[in-house]
Subunit: 196 residues, 2 copies
């Protein structure tokens, strides 16, 4: 049985962290991205299916390839972010279950069932995307997650020859806090939850 | 610019936390569930759309209602968990955008576009489900997330008269660490990520 983490940690990963649109000119080292993936992959997925596939767009050449697929409002800020993570999900994830969930034939739960494959890949790939957001914040990075882009174009240019589909994007770096707007309103407890 | 959180916090939310199947006989107070929702709702969603709806199944009557919808492997452990959270997503989420994203007409981005409504509700509702897992761990709770249940049955018995659809379940409580099995294998960095 564990105690709660310190309030400074809750503040950093939830209470005071914000979605950033403006970035300081400060590099995100590759070693930190490796450390981030080492956190993300430990988060729970159903049958440990781990469908998320992550491309960290960091070089100018990779950014140039991403740029035309971004919605206008996401273009400039993403070009200025040190890194943009493309979070995708692999519809072939179940082929890896003999390795990831070795104690039973979990592959057979999915093979041939397209709806279940999609639901599982999208749900669990998105869970892993959230672990990336929270994990990045815990490592001292700021995040700018985005849905506004041409998914089909990104799939064609970044995931050709695979069955990976893009899910969402997340800029990563050190945000310029001076450029933040006030936080948008949130629901009260009763508007989103109930104890039965 | 923030520093990384302490390693004890990273350990608690990612490195040492595990999916639990056996629960200590220890209550989860309602006040802690309120505090959990106060964390979950701060996590980012696109256009602050906040589609997750959460039912905390805690009373015996509510558990009895949930029981027949659980897959056999999830039944007993869920009945013994102090709380089972039903995480759903509201396909009518965009009706709340005038409140949640008041500075523009975001409702019109969704109304009438069923595919975009589904994608946005499922993606962002799942992100919020992951915030619930991580937030619960940060508050000292253990989690047991599950996909094995009859979604349509749960929707009928718990979300009748709404446009909320069940996404996944998550048992919450204080896990019995003595009953844990070894962690399943994870991918190496190169199997799930690349820096471009």
């Amino acid at each position: 049985m564990t105690e709660r983490v310190k309030d400074t940690c809750l503040d950093q990963i939830f209470r005071e962290s914000r979605t950033h649109n403006a970035w300081l000119d400060k590099d995100v080292p590759d070693a930190l991205l490796h450390e981030l993936v080492d956190l993300v992959k430990l988060g729970p997925t159903s049958a440990n299916c781990s469908p998320a596939r992550i491309l960290f767009v960091k070089s100018q050449a990779a950014k140039d390839k991403l740029k035309p697929h971004l919605s206008e409002g996401n273009r400039d800020k993403t070009m200025k972010a040190p890194v943009c993570a493309i979070i995708g999900y692999d519809l072939d994830f179940y082929e890896h279950l003999p390795k990831l969930f070795p104690h039973t034939d979990a592959r057979s739960w999915f093979a041939g069932n397209e709806q279940k494959i999609f639901d599982t890949a999208f749900r669990n790939g998105t869970l892993q995307g959230a672990y990336l957001i929270v994990g990045a914040r815990a490592l001292g990075l700021d995040c700018g997650p985005m849905s506004g882009f041409d998914n089909k174009g990104v799939d064609r240019d970044f995931f050709a020859g695979t069955n990976v589909k893009s899910n969402f994007l997340c800029n990563l770096g050190y945000g310029d806090g001076a450029k933040l707007l006030p936080r948008s309103p949130r629901f009260a407890f009763d508007e989103m939850a109930r104890i039965l």
